[in-house]
């Protein structure tokens, strides 16, 4: 059994599923599972963490923590964690987690394994595996020092989190002295698509160059919206201006690991596969039966996406209505 600290992630008062995933995996392995949540007012969000497996929730509240910065998080977390002597410290490999965890590792004088897709608890430690060379190889990461073992975990890698509304956690507040902070967040501009983020969504529907225009992506968006999916794109579609770069999936875009990835009119270039091959179930819709994407697809349809995609949407809507 390990003493595990999980740094909770939230935005606009909403906790991230990736946090629940980590809590649930740690609790299922029988660990002493702590959650730490930082912000300017997190009392409400803190209450949700027990149901996912935290036995104790530590809140660190300060007006300066209203917006995330690596500087403020590390200033708050380093002394707190030093005092707690954790065996393991975990966060999601998200824009937030991947940003502050390295700095925290230096302060705790310990090692960090990034972007882990497999995590096993053993004794008071962990065994982690992660992809390298864009998923062309897997490695095990060995921790060399005696300090806590730190890891960031790719969202959606540990399976669906288990919730038990009857379980609650003890909630305690910890103090922080943040000192003089140099980085200041002056504004947060939200997107207005209303769709989930590609790296967090349980389903991603992606389109490629073959969509031929930004307008034609409407059929991809409609399919995505019918199943609560995010929209992704190949680099060719991004370079052609059909989608913004933030939607690009691949080695020089986002790495995604959803339960379902639907590639529409994407050839399956090695750099694209790098971003989606760890998806659980892969569907390819392509009019070229020889397209390399079929080599990684669990289900393939050889056909014209302009015909198949709207029909698939209809079928999935029908399923939902039953």
């Amino acid at each position: 059994m390990a003493k595990v600290f999980i740094i909770a992630e939230h935005r606009d008062g909403k906790l991230k599923k990736s946090t629940f995933e980590l809590l649930s995996a740690s609790a299922a392995a029988g660990n002493e599972t702590h959650a730490v949540i930082l912000g300017d007012s997190v009392a409400e969000a803190a209450k949700e963490l027990g149901a996912y497996g935290a036995s104790k929730v530590h809140t660190i509240q300060d007006p300066a923590l209203k917006f995330y910065t690596s500087e403020s998080y590390v200033a708050a977390l380093a002394p707190f964690l030093k005092a707690q002597s954790p065996d393991v410290v975990l966060a999601a490999h998200s824009p937030t987690g991947r940003d502050f965890m390295p700095r925290l590792a230096v302060r705790l004088d310990t090692g960090l394994a990034s972007d882990c897709t497999s995590l096993t608890f053993a004794g008071n430690g962990i065994t982690v595996k992660r992809p390298v060379y864009a998923g062309k190889a897997m490695v095990e990461v060995e921790f060399l020092g005696a300090g806590p073992k730190m890891a960031t975990v790719r969202p959606n890698s540990l399976g669906a989190p288990k919730m038990d509304a009857a379980k609650t956690a003890e909630i305690v507040s910890a103090s922080a002295s943040l000192g003089n902070l140099k980085t200041k967040v002056t504004d947060i501009a939200k997107s207005n698509s209303g769709r989930p983020d590609v790296t967090e969504a349980p389903i991603v529907v992606s389109g490629g160059r073959s969509l031929k225009s930004a307008e034609n992506f409407k059929i991809i968006e409609e399919l995505a919206d019918s199943i609560g999916a995010a929209v992704g794109a190949s680099r060719a579609a991004v370079d052609a201006g059909y989608r913004p770069h933030r939607d690009q999936v691949g080695q020089t875009g986002k790495v995604v690991s959803p339960a379902l990835y639907i590639a529409c009119g994407i050839s399956g270039a090695i750099q694209h596969l790098a971003g989606m091959r760890s998806s659980k179930v892969i569907v390819a819709i392509n009019n070229d039966a020889e397209a390399p994407i079929f080599q990684v697809a669990d289900y393939g349809i050889v056909g014209d996406l302009f015909q198949v995609v709207p029909l698939l949407k209809q079928e999935l809507v029908k399923l939902k209505e039953h």
Binding site: A134, K136, L144, R277
Partner: protein, 257 residues
């Protein structure tokens, strides 16, 4: 201004990865090496900042075995002024690498700004930028899409999840880690390529920096190639039949919708 760039040499994205004999690493024979794509953005941003601030210098650093000098020369050919090769073993982890780079930067003198990539595309760690920043006590923003440079401070746009952006202001000296969109890297011109060949690239050893090779915190072991994926089902029929059958399989067999 004293502008620094840290860049990593990585295998070309088309590289077929093979393991070495005892699975302790990859077989590097025959690999075509490139500058990690985000680091090209870092070089470009440094050059643009120098152009706006005459009298500035751009110093490019790379840590690794001797082959990485070629990556430094690529940056020199783009227009960087100085190159420093920090000699670390092939197997150096992110922690040793960052410690060595931070020490080498300190040795070169006061920096005003350091540019890096948001991640190297080989280990995809997203660690080294923040680790260097921590060792040098610099404020640091990663995944930067846009930067405006003022007198002594920088305003940046950082990409976060869900297509949202944060606007952040930070004082110099600082570290900025580039995301695609920050700029369009230039190509090296022929005269610059010729000039770059003649430029001296300084080499520094760990011992010169007071850093021990043992200052590693993690080690990659048991390299494995991903198991080949079994070819999946191709669904026959006309589009309506295919769509219907796919929906059924996703629901009943894969249970993902």
């Amino acid at each position: 201004m004293n502008i620094f760039v840290c860049l990593k040499q990585v295998p070309d994205t088309e590289t077929k990865i093979k393991l070495n004999g005892d699975n302790s690493g990859i077989d590097t024979a025959g690999i075509k090496w490139i500058v990690s794509p985000y680091d090209e953005l870092a070089v470009e941003e440094a050059l643009r900042l120098r152009e706006k601030n005459p009298g500035s210098t751009v110093t490019v650093m790379s840590a690794g075995p001797v082959r990485v000098v070629e990556a430094i020369r690529t940056a020199l050919a783009m227009g960087a002024d100085n190159g420093v090769h920090v000699e670390v073993p092939e197997t150096a982890d992110t922690f040793l690498t960052a410690k060595a780079l931070a020490a080498a930067i300190k040795k070169e003198g006061n920096l005003d700004i350091l540019f890096t990539g948001k991640e190297a595309i080989d280990d995809g760690a997203s660690q080294v930028s923040q680790l260097i920043a921590e060792h040098l006590g610099l404020p640091c923003v990663t995944v930067v899409l846009n930067a405006e440079y003022g007198a002594g401070s920088v305003k940046v746009k950082r990409e976060i999840e869900g297509g949202a952006f944060e606007s952040i202001e930070l004082p110099m000296p600082c570290l900025i880690a580039a995301q695609k969109g920050l700029n369009e890297p230039r190509y090296a011109s022929l005269p610059n390529i010729m000039k770059a060949k003649k430029k001296e690239v300084k080499s520094v050893k760990l011992a010169d920096l007071g850093v021990a090779e043992t200052e590693q915190k993690i080690r990659f072991k048991n390299f494995q190639l991903p198991p080949p994926k079994q070819a999946g089902k191709k669904i026959p029929g006309d589009p309506a039949t295919q769509a219907k059958e796919l929906a059924r399989l996703l629901h009943e067999e894969a249970k993902v919708v």
